[in-house]
Every structure is written in structure tokens, then in C-alpha cells.
Symmetry: D3
Subunit: 168 residues, 6 copies
């Protein structure tokens, strides 16, 4: 795994443990990008239904993409200690496999904090929307592996997941 700044504690709680929204006013505004992914594991039957829905007016995958984009914008409402920041771009891609749907969210900003939380929130938003649409056919679907793949920009620079460590 790429080296991270030598932070040894939880920055979101102060010295006595009280939660806070960390002061970033000293941080520089800069272009930042984060990519996060996740997988909805379901059945071949469901993937077949989603694919056959890839016809005119087939809204199932579109609904999940839009849910992901809108969720990214709701990040500061959902994640208590997250800063509200300006997002300059959000993209949510869905790729159907044999019995799963892989979600990739790319979020960009030009602000004082990174956008990995926004990317992760976009992935869970798309994943929840997919789950909602398929739950009548597959109530056992699982949202797995929600994680940051890459982040760029800011003081800590580029971080890329070391994929050899993980099984998935």
C-alpha cells in the first residue's frame, strides 16, 4: 500500500475524544480526484433481467447511475464530520458480469479536501438503488468491496490501492 501521511490517531476526534469537523482553512484549494468501486453480488437471473432492461426506456441501470450521482452530492448530509465541498464532476459506471454488477464512481473537485468520501458515497448510493430494484427477485443480494481505488491531488498526492493484498 502507498505510504500515507504519518497520522497516528483519529483526526476526527480531538485530544479528549470529542468529534469535530477538522479545520481545513489552511489547506490549499487544488484539483482532486477519487475513484471508488464496489460490487453488487446477485444471481444470473437478475443480471439477465437488468441486461434485457438495456432496451429503450430500460431505466433500471439509469436509476442506479443517477442515485449514485445524487448520493455524491448528499455526502455532507450523510457523513457527520465531512466538509461540504463543491463537486466539479461525478461519473458512475456500471458493468454487468455473470452474476454481479460492478460499480465505479469517479468524483472531481477543486477544493480544500479530498473526495474519496464522495466517491464511496456514490458507490453505496448506486448499490442501494440496485438492491432496491432487484430485492423482489433476489433478497439475498450483497453489496461487497466498497473501497477507494485511487485518489489524486492535495498535499498527500496520489494514492493507489495495492491490489495484490486483496483477494476479491
Amino acid at each position: 500500500m502507498a505510504q500515507q501521511d504519518g497520522n497516528q490517531g483519529l483526526t476526527h476526534v480531538d485530544e479528549v475524544g470529542a468529534a469535530r469537523m477538522v479545520d481545513v482553512s489552511e489547506k490549499r484549494t487544488s484539483a482532486r480526484t477519487a475513484i471508488a468501486t464496489g460490487i453488487v453480488r446477485t444471481t444470473e437471473e437478475v443480471v439477465g433481467l437488468l441486461r434485457s432492461d438495456e432496451l429503450p426506456k430500460g431505466d433500471a441501470l439509469a436509476t442506479a447511475r443517477i442515485a449514485g450521482i445524487m448520493a455524491a452530492k448528499r455526502t455532507p448530509d450523510l457523513v457527520p464530520l465531512c466538509h461540504p465541498i463543491a463537486l466539479s464532476g461525478v461519473q458512475v459506471a456500471l458493468e454487468t458480469g455473470d452474476a454481479e454488477v460492478r460499480i465505479t464512481a469517479t468524483v472531481r473537485t477543486t477544493d480544500r479536501t479530498g473526495v474519496e468520501m464522495e466517491a464511496l458515497t456514490a458507490v453505496t448510493g448506486a448499490g442501494l438503488a440496485l438492491h432496491d430494484m432487484i430485492k423482489a427477485v433476489d433478497p439475498a443480494a450483497v453489496l461487497d468491496g466498497v473501497r477507494v481505488e485511487r485518489k489524486e491531488g492535495g498535499k498527500t498526492g496520489t494514492w493507489v490501492r495495492d491490489t495484490e493484498e486483496e483477494g476479491q
Copy 2:
């Protein structure tokens, strides 16, 4: 896995594929419960920090619990085709393991639809909040296995996950 109603298609899109919020006005108001779980996989170091935070004013785990409860209330804002319903109770439990935190959300309602989406949203809300707080120490943390464990009430009755199928 318990049998589900013989629904053969995606109920959230109509016959031509257009997304809709399904009409549930004919459904009966009844007590319903759903339990969902998920796991934040991180490092032993992070779990140590979270545990040592279990001291006076240690807000990290509290922040995640509250994020989960509040996320459950935001479900209709996040999941496009979800009905806005009255929630009569939400509980989010966090259990720290060696290098992970297990999240369990229990949601209750007395309304016309089930609350599995609210329980799943609570799990992802708590998971995202945890990720946010630990990301400076462990940017590689993963939210895994977000899934329904059990749902009770409504026409389809009790559904319990068949745990033998899954590895986790």
C-alpha cells in the same frame, strides 16, 4: 434461501421499462422489521484506536452509530424509487473484531412496505462514517458484505438468510 414471491421481473420498472415508485396503496399497514449487516475491514492498528477511543468522550463509534440512524431516515432521499415511510425504531450496533468492525442495523416500522432498504442504508451510513474517521490512518479500508439478514412482517412473511450459501 427462503422462497420469495414468484415475481419474475423488476417491479420498479413498468412493462416498457420506465422507472416508477410502485403503488402500494392496496397493501396493509403492519408491523415490519428488517435486520441488515455489513463489515468494515481495516487494520489492527485502527481497531486499537477505535477501542482506546471507547473512553470518556470517545465519539468515534458514537458518530458511526448516529450516522447509521440518521441515514435510515434519509432512505427515501437516497434510494430513488423507495417509498417515504414512518420508522418506529432504529438501532445500530457496532462490534469490533481483530481488524474489522461489524455493523448490525435493526429497523422497525408499522407501514405499507418492508424496511430492508432502511436497514441497508443504516449499515452503509455507519460504514461510510467509520471510513471517514479512519481514512487518514487506513485509506485502504473496505466496506464488505452489506446485506439483509432477516425480515419479518408484511404479506411475504419472514425471510431469513440461508447462511450456508455464503462464505463470509
Copy 3:
């Protein structure tokens, strides 16, 4: 036009003119439906683009449908004196004409107030989303004729727009 209850003033302001959310606790819970429509007037070129988007992954019309459904759920946040109510179903249909898109929203509830505001809000939500997507090609697009067509249920019963009065 169908007769309305003999209300002679603005019910949303009290006798001295102060705004209020009218007390409906004495009203009976009953099944209610409202249908509202509106038209986005644009160019033939834009309608051609929207139609050619009716291909696999063509999300433009889906985005508008979902925006309409989600807007219906935000009605009490947007309309200051509206009651927050449970919606039991929302459908948003889009029909492309020569140089316009006709929006029809159908909203159902089983609650104490009618849902015409939710249906109108769904129409404007879909109309705004369409406007957003086509504005680079046609900045002059107009959302016209946002109005209730029909409402059913509640004490005042069925109201149907007298279409002979209007030109449109």
C-alpha cells in the same frame, strides 16, 4: 369546471394574514390520487436527440422520470405550507412530440390531504431536469402548462379539469 368547496379566502393564512400549515387532524385518512401535466417546449433538433437517446443506456429521459419521482418526495421541503405525507405510488410518463416533451405525473397516497402539490412538483422536477439536459442545445426551452388534470378521493371528491376552457 367542477364545483369546489365554497372556500372564500386563502386557507393558508389565518384571519390576520399569518401563514400557517392548516390543521388537518380532523380529516379522514383515505385513498387519494392526483394527475398533473406539463409540457417542455423545445426544438425538433432536441427531440431528435432525446429520441436517439432512446437507445441502450440512453439516460436522458430516465433522468427526467427519476427527477420527477424524487421531486414528489421532496414536496414538503419545497412548498412551505404543505403537509409531509406518506406517498404510496408515483409515476412520471414522458411523451415526445414534434418539438416538445409532454410530462404526466400520477401520485397516490392514503393520507389526510390531497396530493395535487406532489403531482405538480413531480412535473416541475421532471421539467427542470429536462431543461438542464437540453439547455446547451436549446437555452430557450420553456416549461409550460403545469397544472392539475384530475384529483380523486377526500371530502371534495373527484375534480376533473374542464378542458374546453383552456386553449393549449
Copy 4:
């Protein structure tokens, strides 16, 4: 009509038609203004009630003005692919005619995108609030002609509606 940039497709969907929030990180921050208008067509009786409400504590028109201002702030929540941006000023003016209320919204920002969607959303917010307050007296009211009149700032510069084309 003023010339628009030569965009030939829908910028909000990518080459395969998937919805996205367009990346504007390369755009320059600059002062931008947009003016949008709309008309609530109702009856002389209703306009009389609204005018007589223009007395001490007459909140009806104030409610609509405030609904419009607050709606402008909710634009990114309502319009799925809209960027969340900082608004530096919002004004909503209402002008009563014989049997209609004309709404004019002026929105300003110093950010990376134009604010025509915020201005249009303010107009619909005010229009919906008016509709809500008058619907008991005039359920047939219509929100008409919601459209951008003028936008200034940004790369495309000033755009002014060519009023000779429209009837209104």
C-alpha cells in the same frame, strides 16, 4: 436568438448515453447572473385575495418569495446532474396582473457554472407555493412560461431571449 456554443449533443450523457455530472474543473470561476420568469394564471378573484392580503401580516406573497429563494438553494438536490454551487444572491419578484401573478427570479454566483437552473428552480418553487395557497379557491391554476430570459458571465457570455419568437 443569440448564438449558443456549437454543442451538437446532450452534454449530460456520455458517448454511450450514460448520465453524468459533467466535469467543470477546467472552467474558470467568474461572476454569473441568470434571470428566469414564469406566470401563474389564475382568476381575478384569486388576484383580489392576494392583493387584499397585501396588508399587515399578509404572508401569501411573502411565502411564495421565500419558497422561490429556498428552492434556488435546493437546485442540486432536485436536478440530478446539476453541480452544487455557491449562490451569492437570489431575488424573487412577484407582480400581480388582472388574473395572473408574474414571477421573476434573479440568481447570482461566482462559480464554475451558470445559474440558469437555479433561476428556473426559484421560479417553479415560487409558482408551486402560490399554487398551494390558491388551490382551494382555484384548483385550475396553471404555471406557464417558465423560461430563462437572460444569462450573463462565463465562457459563452451574455444570452438574451429573443422575445419576438414567443407569443406570451
Copy 5:
């Protein structure tokens, strides 16, 4: 002060101290009302400005009334462990004194929990809006005495503040 149910602990945390949204599914739906008050203490000059604003189009007090009503609807978004409930009526009254504005909010529901939090939230919403409007003239304004005056309905029945205890 009227006797309260013999609750000896904090009901919103469980036996080990974890926050939860208490399960109210066993509670009966019934008509409930709560009245809360508060006072914005400011200067005679400000009260003069607010009163002179009680002219045609004087929106200052209207803005505060509407802010209070809308805040009541946002209670479950603001108060983490509050149940989302249906509100059947909200009224916010403002009374100007020599150098203060007294706020009274009355909230009604027909649901499973009381509405004192909604009434208190309405008072703070109106108080914050007043503060915002007068802060350029009186940055030292104070919102004082935000408290429940009376609640009716539900199992515990009517509770009325014992006014002799307080000074105010």
C-alpha cells in the same frame, strides 16, 4: 410541574449507553399537540424596524414564521434520534414587545410520538431566521427561553409548565 412517567434513565441510549431511536411500534396512534415558546431579545430600534416592516410586502416577520413552519418539518433531519412523523398542523405566532419578539409554535400530529421536539424546532427555526435578519443592526441579539409550555395527548396525557418555578 406536572408529574412525568417514572422514567429514571435516558431512554435514547440503551443499557450500555449506545444511542438508538426508541422503538415506538407498540404505541397507539393518537392526536397530540405541543406548544413551545422562545424570545428573541434585541433592541428597541430593531423592534421598530420590524414593526415598520409590517407594511405592504413587509416580509421580515413572514420570513421568520415560514422558517419556523419549515423547520418543524425538518425535525427528524436535525434531531438525530427523533422519529419521522406526520405533522397535521403547524402555526408560528410572533408578538413584538418593547425590545423583544416572542415566538409561539403550536404543532399537531396524529401519530405514535409527541411533537414537543417539532414545536421546539419551529421556535428555534423562527428565532434563527429573525437573528439572521436583524444581525446587521443588532449582532448581540439573544434567543432565550426556548421551552415547551404544554403538551397534550398520548399515554402520559397533558403536561403544563409550572410557570411559578421560572423567573422569565
Copy 6:
């Protein structure tokens, strides 16, 4: 009290009294801080419960801190004429006294407007959350003295409350 700019009227209403979100596009982006305080007056018994809750997993005070931080982010949704701005840091401190809890909120931004409304909203958010958690034991609790203590930055510079004027 420190001198304020010589504003003689209510800036949030225009010359005819209509509410508006004041245009701040000419204002300079600069670092700004505001500190606000308030007090929840309750009983010794309640303070005892809150303190004994300062044990492992004692979420009561954490819930109030987080409610305050999240409320600060919701300020533009609650205060009708407030500008949506970027917050660069929020801290909410709670101090238990004999029979009260003192709330102090510190909010920072680097934007075009001051953040006193955000600090006041954080105080009321924490106060409402406390009230919610203690209301079963002390329904008579009062939120008192919500006020700005200090603001720094912007054109008007530093303003500090003259504490000799107030009793509290």
C-alpha cells in the same frame, strides 16, 4: 458593544420590504470565524445521568455534539435568506455544570459571508438534541442564551460581545 457598520435598516428586505438573499458577489473571500454559545438549563438529576453516561459507549453527549456539527451544515436549508457557503471547520463543546449544559460552537469558513448563523444553528442543533434525550426525565428543560460571542474576519473585522451588559 463593539461598533457595527452603520446599517440602519434590515438588509434582508429590499426598499419595498420584499425578502431577498443579499448579493454578496462583490465581497471578498476571506477567513472568518464565529463563536456562539447557549445553555440547556435542566436538573441536577439529568446532569448526573449525562455524566454517568460519560462512560464507554455513552452516546448522549456525543449525539448532541454531532447534531450540532450536522446542523451547522444545514444552515442554508433552515435559515431562508442565508447563503450556502463552504464550512472549513466546526467544533461543538459541551460543558456540564450543576444543573445545566453549556454549549459552545466554533465555525470557520473561507468564503464571502460570516458564519455567525452557522455557529448559532450549531448551538440550537446541539441544544435540541440534548432536549430530545432528556425530555422524558425533565420535560421542563430550557434552551437559554443562544447568542454570538465573537466573530472575526470580513470587512467589519472582529466583534466581541460586551459581557458586562448581559446578566446571565
